[in-house]
Amino acid sequence: MHSEGSSAPSRSSGTRGDSARGSAPYFTGRGLTKSYGPIDALRQVDIDLYRGEVHALVGENGAGKSTLKKVLSGEVALNDGTLAVDGRKVRLSSPMDARRFGIAVVHQHFPMAEARSVAENIFLGELPRCGPSWLPLVDHAAMWREAKAALAAFSLSHLAGRTIRQLSVAERQVVAIASATRRDAEVIILDEPTSSLNASEVETLFATMRKLRDDGACVVFISHSMEEVLAIADRITVLRDGKRIGTIGANDADASTLVRMIVGRDLAKGYPKSNVSIGKSRLTVSDIDTGTGQSLSLAAKTGECVGLPAHLGSGVDELLKRLSGQVRSPAGRIELDGVDLSRAKLPKRIKAGLCLVPGDAASEGLVPLLSIEENILLPNSRQYTEFGIVRRRKVRALCRDLIKMLDIRPADPRAAVNNLSGGNRQKVVIAKWLAAGTRLLIMDDPTKGVDVGAKIEIYSVINATLETGSSVVLASTDLDELIGLSDRILVIRDGAIVGEHARQRFDKVTILEQLIGAA
């Protein structure tokens, strides 16, 4: 660990930002460690940020990028490690502290007052005052002047009078940057700023980043896209499992080196995969357009788990919406066990056995105020109704069986689901669909935001579902998870299938390369 840390600066010699950079780093972090309960989000990470560089942070989901971002911006307190600005030790115990040392963050979804002007948003919370100090009057002239000046740096001063709502995503992004850099910012952290931008908008953003760099700031760029990172970064820090794998100069880096650093060597380990025999064809999807202009086709068999690596912009989200019936696809065909569901609405798809397990159980999967039993009953109430009355006793017996089968805790059908843990909530969602006699479960990142123990339990529930003969389409941002659980992995990028892998020949590097377009 330590040797890697000390070798990093020498490796970075000769990078693009070298000329603009001073000899000493503006900001240094040493031995940064942060744990959430038993999970180490960051372990002994060292980082140097120089003036006049674009410094990319890359790594898989959960590698520690966002924790490191939060440490730099004062949002979370360190368990261990030291931070120094210009060689002096500092403590960043709040975003305000970070701000004082010139560290500004542009969040992925920067909250703004939608109906107000760009100028007002740039100054939100600190509108310039005029008149006597006891009279709270806004100095509109100064606000407009300064807002225009701030925007002029990015040649966007004509936007000052527009409302936020009128802006494109890229323009909003730049306004957020302008707002963050209004006061002298030495370090500007951009958290996945390109995830919702198109190619030309990305170029605009890069121009902005270059300008900030040339003006002597350090731009920290967090991104999933190797292409973008290699195009803009001067130095790249790779994180994996909360550890820094290394920092390399962009000139020394190429996509495959980076992917290898990101992925590491350990293959899928510890994922319970039961042997379920794969049967006849169940789902056939042909020529579905996910809104990108590209169309894709896929199929799933009974007992088969089809893995779809997902990240923002891959088109997997849109595919799932069209499969589950949340969005109806104008073209293409969806068939389940020979029944055409292409034009069917959501309830009809559920009836046919096509069921969705949303990523966020609490907000989309369950009604938190209702009990486990009532949630399981929701799609199934007709089945248990005689003469207009729900036969609660029958339902309760069914719920007890499901609770036992999936090991839901507490094992009380009458417990309200808002008291359940994340993993147990997700199990209730799956129980609901098992009760409905699901034939195909569409799972949208089912282990997002649940702890490791709960993840393992959800995996065993997925296996239990497969054992009932149901098929599973599993979308996940966690590639290890997909490799551990899937029978087949389809790589989708920009709404088109770019790779198909059978379980016997899973190769994480190849999959990742296809996913990020490095292949």
């Binding site: 949340q326 907000s363 369950l366 938190p368 009953l377 729900v390 507490p410």
Partner: protein, 330 residues
């Protein structure tokens, strides 16, 4: 494979918790009954006539019509909306139903017409809120004015009188010592209670109110479910209007003003959250009984009825604040 489960320690501990502990978790539920009991005692001590048979019957007569409006208001609130039009709908129904009785001589037809008129306005509310996703505040504020205006237009601004004696007799007679109006309210309460508790529709109301997104993704027809809550509310207001017409022996276009707010106040006082998904009908009923008994009590002990609004409003704000504080500590 099967592992002997440890007896659940928290549960056994829970049984042993003392009363103070129980109160810590449930003081919000006990607030309304407690206020109710204290209030009755105070009024009784100040004037023993408060608990006389005559006055209790009086209170029951007063509460019945509001109680039916409250049943409808509760269903809408449980389903995540609210209905400001109930008071105006009540007046429109009273006028329409009375005119039908006056024209045809048939009480049955008149009551049906009045209730149907209410349900029709409810259907309009429900369609716009449920299917078009317009804010219930705006929709029912609008239909409140529409219904009130129509009540005056249809009646020509004057009360509809000359109704058959049989009609008004219903409202002033008792069956087995209980006022007919109260029995009517009880029947409506029991029916809606059973629907909420035992039918799939009832479950869907709470689900749609609690989390419309998850409900929709579970195959619940959220738009229809919500729409029907307004139809139920409209029908309840319509029936209440007919009972009021019987009681006052005439359909008045200016009747029922602010009934909707008193009903919503009762629902909130009964512990239902205005964002929907929870609440119990019987608790709304208890709250409307409390509000009515309070107004009656103030009158009996000789406090000017101007004070009624101040006291009721105060209790409402107090109860809602308790609830908010409890939520924050949860």
């Amino acid at each position: 494979m099967s592992v002997a489960k440890q007896p659940n320690p928290p549960q056994s501990e829970l049984a042993q918790t003392n009363h103070l502990e129980w109160f810590k978790h449930n003081w919000d539920r006990t607030a309304v009954p407690a206020i109710f009991i204290i209030m009755v005692l105070v009024f009784y001590l100040l004037n023993p006539n408060y608990l006389s048979t005559l006055n209790i019957i009086n209170i029951l007569n007063q509460v019945s019509i509001l109680a039916i409006v409250t049943v409808g208001a509760s269903v809408v609130v449980f389903g995540g909306g609210f209905d400001l039009s109930a008071g105006s709908v009540l007046a429109l129904s009273a006028v329409v139903g009375s005119m039908v009785i006056a024209a045809t001589g048939s009480i049955t037809l008149g009551v049906m017409a009045g209730t149907a008129a209410g349900a029709a306005v409810g259907l309009l509310n429900g369609f716009v809120v449920g299917y078009l996703n317009v804010s219930p505040l705006i929709v029912t504020l609008g239909s409140m004015n529409v219904a009130r205006g129509l009540a005056f237009i249809v009646s020509g601004g004057i009360a509809i009188h000359n109704l058959p004696a049989l009609f008004s007799d219903f409202a002033i007679t008792r069956t087995l010592g209980v006022p007919n109006l109260a029995l009517g309210a009880l029947v409506v309460f029991v029916i809606v209670h059973l629907v909420l508790k035992y039918t799939p529709y009832g479950l869907n109301v709470y689900a749609a109110g609690g989390n419309p997104v998850a409900s929709r993704l579970s195959g619940v027809n959220v738009a229809w479910t919500k729409c029907m809550t307004y139809v139920i509310s409209g029908a309840c207001a319509g029936l209440a209007g007919m009972l009021l017409a019987a009681r006052t022996n005439g359909g008045e276009p200016g009747a029922g003003i602010l009934y909707e707010l008193e009903a919503i106040a009762a629902v909130v006082l009964g512990g239902a959250a205005l964002h929907g998904g929870e609440g119990r009908l019987w608790r709304s009923m208890m709250a409307i009984l409390l509000l009515t008994a309070l107004g009656n009590g103030l009158n009996i002990v000789g406090i000017h009825h101007y004070w009624k609004g101040v006291v009721i409003g105060g209790i409402l704000i107090f109860a809602a604040s308790l609830d908010a504080v409890k939520r924050r500590h949860r």
